[in-house]
Each structure stands twice: as structure tokens, then as C-alpha cells.
């Protein structure tokens, strides 16, 4: 089977041996009502309410949404409008912590008897994909079509990030436990734990753990970017092709992030919803790169300072990895459920764009075989028919084309802009 191609990046996994450090409780947290893909929640708390750890503070009737919980105990000191890195505006609840970290009485292990009660519990946990996209987990685990394989995405293919790797090194039992739990309750015969080849320790450990279990395969992905992209990981580990307009479940597959699986396992035991997460703090402006576990709502700037970052030097702050992460305008923005990395960069690329020399590097590197240079041309003249024919809608914005372009053209960006020209059906 021909594997999809990709890009050889410098791994820069500087923090792979940095054990997770618990961040001291911040004085104040700002919890946005939208930390997931889907409809934002409405706050359930009012100004001056006291909240406890694990208390639900935001929810929404829409099915494509997940509730929001507080990770701290304290008092609500503000409810504001908040613009996230995507530009979406939602409410955010500011809580001043009291330091007691009293656990809410809402927090108790869920009663799970069958698939329905499990899916309901997953929703109540506030779980969404921890790999970065934040797709609501209860929707992912409840597809309309029968599933024969669940792929646990442990590719972590972006440079710098080691948050999932630390989960694998520190909580391997939760991961295997979670895989078995999901497999049993959803009646999925087979699980594939897909790990990129640059994590040999994790591959070795899990291969040993799953030695006597033939329902769990440990699969080594080639070490090239973007192995963690859904279509790529499905194709490379099962040979199946998710066609245009299809979901992974249409080919009998669910792809779920490895840290999400471990979280779900802990949730069904303890009932503590998703209120903390691990993120990698790194980048060339960061003095001491670390893996940090903190409550959602912690301001990024406090993490950077904790990691000995001289804020004077910082030119760019990226929430997420260097390839697909988002640069943020304000260092006071908070850690959200999907923050897998926080990078502070000293320098940024401000060279001018020059003419396309038609070298074809963008075409050669696109994992899906798109032609970014042609898409850019069609985008400039707003040729919608041509854009459709070039299949721009399939672009997943992995950024490989922009990365390799010798003329410094922002091809991934023009792909996204081109998508907006195509009318949705």
C-alpha cells in the first residue's frame, strides 16, 4: 500500500523528557464559553456566584456543543465578551480563585450501563478532541454507521509538541484502559494505536503492554508531517480512503486523540470533567521549555513567565504547533481545552513574497495531491469552476505548501480564502 507523502520537518521535541509539572493555581481564570468546535455555550453562573471545582458553568441546547466546567473554586468576578483566536466572539466567565479548590458535589462517577448512557456521560464530561481541533467527543463516538476500527491518534506530528507523548509515558494504563473501555461499550472489535516513528520509547512500551491482546494493534506511522491528519492516519494505518464529503465513520473508522482516550477513562472512574490539560510551552523565546498541566482559563502569559520567558523578546505567540497553530494577538488569552502547545517565538518571517517559479514543491509535498500553486492562480482571478476542479475544499490547511515555498508565497492561506469563494450547498 502506498503511503501518503509528507514533509520532513525538524522535530524540535525539546520537551519530550520533561515530566509534567502542575502549574500553581492562578489568581484569576478566564473561561471562554467556546473551547470546542461547535455552538458556544451560555453561562450558567451570574456575577458574584461562588463556583467549585468541576462545577458546570456553561451549557447549550444544541447537540453539536459541549458543556464548560470550572477547574477552580472561587467567585465569578466578571462575565465578558471574548474573542478567541479564530475571531469568534462568545461569553467568557472570569473567576477569582479562593485557593481552597473545593470540589463540587456535581462531581461523581457517572452511571454508565449502555452505549446511550455512555454517550450522555461523555457529553457531560465536557470532552472534546484534545489534539487541537476540539471536535465534540460525544458526537464522534456516536456515529450513524457501524464502526469496526477505532484509531487512537498518537502521531503528534507537529514540531515542538510533546503533550500527548507525556500522556503516553506517564499514564499508559489510562490509555490502554480507555481503549478497552470504549471498545467494549461501543462494541468495536479492533483498536489501532498509531504512533509516529519518532517516539520509539512509547512504541516499545505499548507494544509490550498490548502483547497478549490481539484486539489492540500498535502501529508505527512514518515520521513525516502530517501523519496525524485524519485522512492521512486512516489511510496509512488501515488503507481505507475517506472520500470527498465522507466522514471517517463512513468507512467504519473513528479517529480519537490519545489524550482524549486517557481523559475519558479517568472521567468514568472519578467523574471529574475536563478542567485541566497538559500543554507544551516551548519556542525560541522560552528560557525553560516545559510540559505543564494547568486549569483551563489560565492566562498564557503566566505560563510563559513561569517558563522564564523574557516577554520583551517575544514577537509572536502561537497557540498550538508551528504548522497549524494560531498566532494570538494578546498574551493574556487563556488556556482552553484544545491548547496542546504554547510557543513564544523571537523572530518571524517578514520577507517579501516573490514570484512563483513553478518549482512544484508545493505539489510534491501536499499529502492529498492538491496543486496549491494552481489553486492560488485560480483564486486570484476568482475562477470558481477551476477551484472546484482543483478540489480546494479538500485542503486541510496542514501548511506544508507554504512551508516549502521558496518564493515565500502564503499558499495555505490562499487555499483557505479560496474555499470561502465556493458556495456551500
Amino acid at each position: 500500500m502506498k503511503k501518503l507523502n509528507g514533509l520532513k520537518l525538524k522535530h524540535r521535541k525539546n520537551t519530550q523528557d520533561s515530566a509534567t509539572i502542575d502549574f500553581p493555581l492562578p489568581e484569576k481564570v478566564i473561561i471562554p464559553m467556546s473551547m470546542h468546535m461547535g455552538v458556544p455555550c451560555s453561562p450558567l453562573v451570574k456575577l458574584k456566584d461562588t463556583v467549585k471545582v468541576g462545577q458546570k458553568i456553561g451549557d447549550c441546547d444544541a447537540p453539536f456543543s459541549v458543556p464548560v466546567h470550572s477547574g477552580v473554586s472561587g467567585t465569578v468576578t466578571a462575565i465578558t465578551d471574548y474573542r478567541n483566536a479564530m475571531g469568534t466572539v462568545c461569553k467568557a466567565v472570569e473567576i477569582t480563585t479562593d485557593g481552597k479548590q473545593e470540589v463540587s458535589e456535581e462531581v461523581k462517577p457517572p452511571v454508565i450501563t449502555d452505549k446511550e448512557s455512555f454517550i450522555k456521560a461523555v457529553r457531560e464530561s465536557g470532552a472534546c478532541g484534545l489534539g487541537g481541533a476540539g471536535f465534540p467527543t460525544h458526537i464522534k463516538l456516536n456515529p450513524k454507521t457501524p464502526i469496526d476500527t477505532i484509531i487512537i491518534n498518537a502521531a503528534e506530528c507537529e514540531p515542538y509538541i510533546t503533550a500527548d507523548y507525556r500522556e503516553m509515558m506517564e499514564y499508559p494504563d489510562d490509555i490502554i484502559g480507555g481503549i478497552n473501555y470504549i471498545k467494549n461499550i461501543l462494541n468495536i472489535p479492533k483498536a489501532i494505536l498509531a504512533i509516529e516513528a519518532n517516539k520509539p520509547e512509547a512504541i516499545k512500551n505499548f507494544t509490550k503492554m498490548a502483547e497478549n491482546d490481539d484486539t489492540i494493534d500498535i502501529f508505527t506511522l512514518p515520521s513525516c508531517y502530517p501523519q496525524g491528519a485524519e485522512k492521512v492516519i486512516i489511510h496509512n494505518s488501515t488503507g481505507r480512503i475517506v472520500m470527498e464529503g465522507q466522514l471517517p465513520s463512513d468507512v467504519g473508522v473513528i479517529v480519537i486523540n490519545v489524550s482524549t482516550v486517557a481523559f475519558l477513562y479517568r472521567y468514568v472512574q472519578t467523574g471529574m470533567p475536563l478542567v485541566t490539560r497538559r500543554l507544551t510551552v516551548d519556542g525560541n523565546a522560552v528560557g525553560e521549555p516545559k510540559n505543564i498541566r494547568t486549569v483551563t482559563g489560565t492566562p498564557f502569559v503566566s505560563l510563559l513567565e513561569y517558563c522564564k520567558t523574557n516577554m520583551e523578546n517575544v514577537k509572536k505567540i502561537i497557540a498550538g504547533g508551528p504548522m497549524m497553530g494560531m498566532s494570538i494577538p494578546d498574551p493574556n488569552m487563556p488556556v482552553v481545552k484544545t491548547s496542546n502547545a504554547l510557543l513564544a517565538i523571537k523572530s518571524y518571517d517578514d520577507r517579501k513574497t516573490s514570484s512563483c517559479i513553478r518549482c512544484g514543491r508545493c505539489v510534491a509535498v501536499c499529502p492529498l495531491g492538491l496543486m496549491p500553486a494552481e489553486i492560488e492562480k485560480a483564486y486570484k482571478i476568482k475562477n470558481i469552476e477551476e477551484l472546484k476542479e482543483l478540489k480546494v475544499m479538500l485542503c486541510m490547511n496542514c501548511g506544508s505548501c507554504t512551508y516549502v515555498c521558496p518564493a515565500n508565497r502564503k499558499l495555505a492561506e490562499s487555499n483557505q480564502l479560496a474555499k470561502a469563494l465556493i458556495p456551500r450547498k
Partner: protein, 313 residues
């Protein structure tokens, strides 16, 4: 605290820039240049310098007159000048070489919008224009080391026009001990440059392999001498340095194969049946013109894309 820069992803970049690519092409041409100086003497160095300087000067003036960003820094004009020089006979008067640079940079490249926008290879077009305009000056060949013995060094025939009895040996052709343009005689130097570019992933082997392979195959089938055919004339120079030009050849590997095969066929036909002894330049130029069509027909199949459903009206 600085004002933070906000820009779309990716935030990482690699360092292979246009100028780095061009620099690598220049490095790859160094062996051919050194061999040309060795075989044809100081005049070859002078002619190369004239071509490079005039190409860069024309590029500079053009960009200035057209009020566009200056692009001499990307080194593409240096590459054009160098390749053009490699395509000229050593006896050529410098003023003709300057006309060649004008055709290459001004007419073929800048009038179409500059780097990446030209549909025909600048150096090839210049060579053909000069060949048609100054046929005797452009075919005034000399033997290697003519400078040691200038009195009787006239009209060294190229390997493609000699009688079968005076044929050069394969070794002479490989090391370039034969008549011809500055940079095209030494197959070994060109091969070394070509392999360097392939290792550096600057060029894709598809087009040169298809070009040389097709020519060898056709001459073998027609009862010719395939090795002699591919080692003589401008085949290696054309295949490695001009049939791999980014702007004027197809982007996809499939397209590059088609391009290479086309070059091979046309070169063979001109050499066997045409009135010109050499067909490499014409073949590349003709295939340059076909490139947009090849491009259309050899588009990549997008992973997971549904075949377009044709609207039946």
C-alpha cells in the same frame, strides 16, 4: 512588550529560497564551466562573463523601467547568462552574445512578466534566435586546445557532423574532447552537475531520464548508435539544465515524463531527418510551447476526490 505579530499558519519556514535554488544550479554548472575553460581557453571565460554581466544588466534595467521589484538578487539572471554561455561557440564575437542576452532576458523573460512567467526557456530561445540570425558565427566550431595552436585551429566539426570514419571515441565524447559549444561537450561534467541537482532535490530526474532514454531507445531501434547519440551535441546540457527549467516545463512528475519523451522524439527526428545536425534546442522549445497542454492532461489525482460528474445538458 512588543506588539505581537498575528499571521496565518504555518509559522515555521524552511530555508530553500529561490536564490538558494539558483545558487545550486550555478554550482552544478561550475564543472562544465571549468571544463570549457580548460578546453577552449580564456575566450570561454570572457564569453561567459559577458553573458552573465549582460543578462544581469538587462534584468536590472528591465525591472527598473517597468517599475517593478528588483529581482537580480534571486540569481536567476546569472543562471540564464551562464546557461546561455554554455550554448555558444567559443569563437562567437561578444556583441552577438550580448544580443543573445537581450533576447533571453528582455524578450523571452521580462516581457512576459519575469521569473516564473516566461513560457519558453530564455537561454534556448536566445540560442535559436542567434542560430537563425547568425548561422555562420554560431557554427564556427574549433577543436579543444585550439588556443595552443591558433593557426590551424579552424572548423572543428562537432560530433554530429563528422563523417562516420572520423567519429570521436566514446571516451573523448564523455570527457568532452570534441568540438561544440562551450558547455555542451563535456558529458561527464554535465552529468556530475545533474546528479548534484538531483541529490539536492532541485531537479526531478523524470524529465532528463525520459529525454535521454527516449533518444537512446529511438536511435537503437532505428539502427543508430545510441551511446554516441546521447553523448554528443547538447543532449546532456539540455536534459539536465534546460528540460528541467521550472517555469517552462510541467509541474507534475507525469507531465515531466511526457515532456522528456517529447524532447527525445523531436531531437531524434531533427537529427535523423532534418536539415539541422542538432535538434536539442528546437525540441525543448517546442515542448515548452506544449507545456500548458501537458499540464492540463497530467494533473494529479487528488486523494479521496470524487470524479467530476459531467453536467449533461
Amino acid at each position: 512588550m512588543n506588539k505581537l505579530v498575528v499571521s496565518p499558519s504555518p509559522h515555521d519556514e524552511n530555508y530553500v529560497k529561490t536564490s538558494v535554488i539558483m545558487l545550486n544550479v550555478i554550482i552544478a554548472l561550475v564543472p562544465a564551466f571549468v571544463m570549457s575553460a580548460y578546453y577552449f581557453g580564456w575566450r570561454s571565460i570572457m564569453l561567459t562573463a559577458v553573458c552573465i554581466v549582460s543578462c544581469v544588466a538587462f534584468e536590472f534595467i528591465c525591472r527598473k523601467l517597468m517599475k517593478r521589484d528588483q529581482t537580480i538578487g534571486d540569481l536567476s539572471a546569472v543562471v540564464t547568462g551562464l546557461i546561455l554561455a554554455m550554448n555558444l561557440p567559443v569563437t562567437l564575437p561578444p556583441w552577438i552574445a550580448i544580443i543573445g542576452s537581450f533576447v533571453a532576458i528582455v524578450i523571452t523573460k521580462q516581457l512576459f512578466g519575469g521569473i516564473g512567467q516566461n513560457f519558453a526557456n530564455p537561454a534556448i530561445t536566445a540560442r535559436i534566435v542567434l542560430m537563425v540570425s547568425f548561422p555562420s558565427a554560431m557554427t564556427n566550431w574549433v577543436y579543444p586546445f585550439w588556443y595552443q595552436n591558433p593557426t590551424d585551429a579552424v572548423s572543428g566539426a562537432t560530433p554530429l557532423v563528422v563523417n562516420s570514419t572520423e567519429q570521436y571515441s566514446y571516451l573523448d565524447l564523455f570527457i568532452g574532447k570534441c568540438g561544440g559549444c562551450l558547455g555542451e561537450t563535456c558529458a561527464a561534467a554535465l552529468l556530475a552537475g545533474g546528479i548534484y541537482l538531483m541529490i539536492k532535490k532541485i531537479i526531478n530526474p523524470a524529465a532528463p531520464v525520459a529525454f535521454i532514454g527516449t533518444l537512446a531507445l529511438l536511435s537503437a531501434v532505428s539502427g543508430g548508435d545510441p551511446l554516441y547519440q546521447i553523448l554528443s551535441g547538447g543532449v546532456f546540457l539540455g536534459a539536465f539544465f534546460m528540460a528541467t527549467d521550472y517555469a517552462t516545463t510541467p509541474i507534475s512528475t507525469k507531465g515531466k515524463v511526457v515532456f522528456g519523451i517529447g524532447c527525445g522524439i523531436i531531437t531524434f527526428v531533427i537529427r535523423s531527418f532534418g536539415s539541422y545536425p542538432e535538434g536539442v534546442s528546437f525540441s525543448i522549445l517546442l515542448m515548452n510551447i506544449l507545456t500548458p497542454y501537458i499540464e492540463q492532461l497530467t494533473r494529479n489525482k487528488v486523494f479521496g476526490a470524487k470524479e467530476a460528474v459531467k453536467n449533461e445538458k
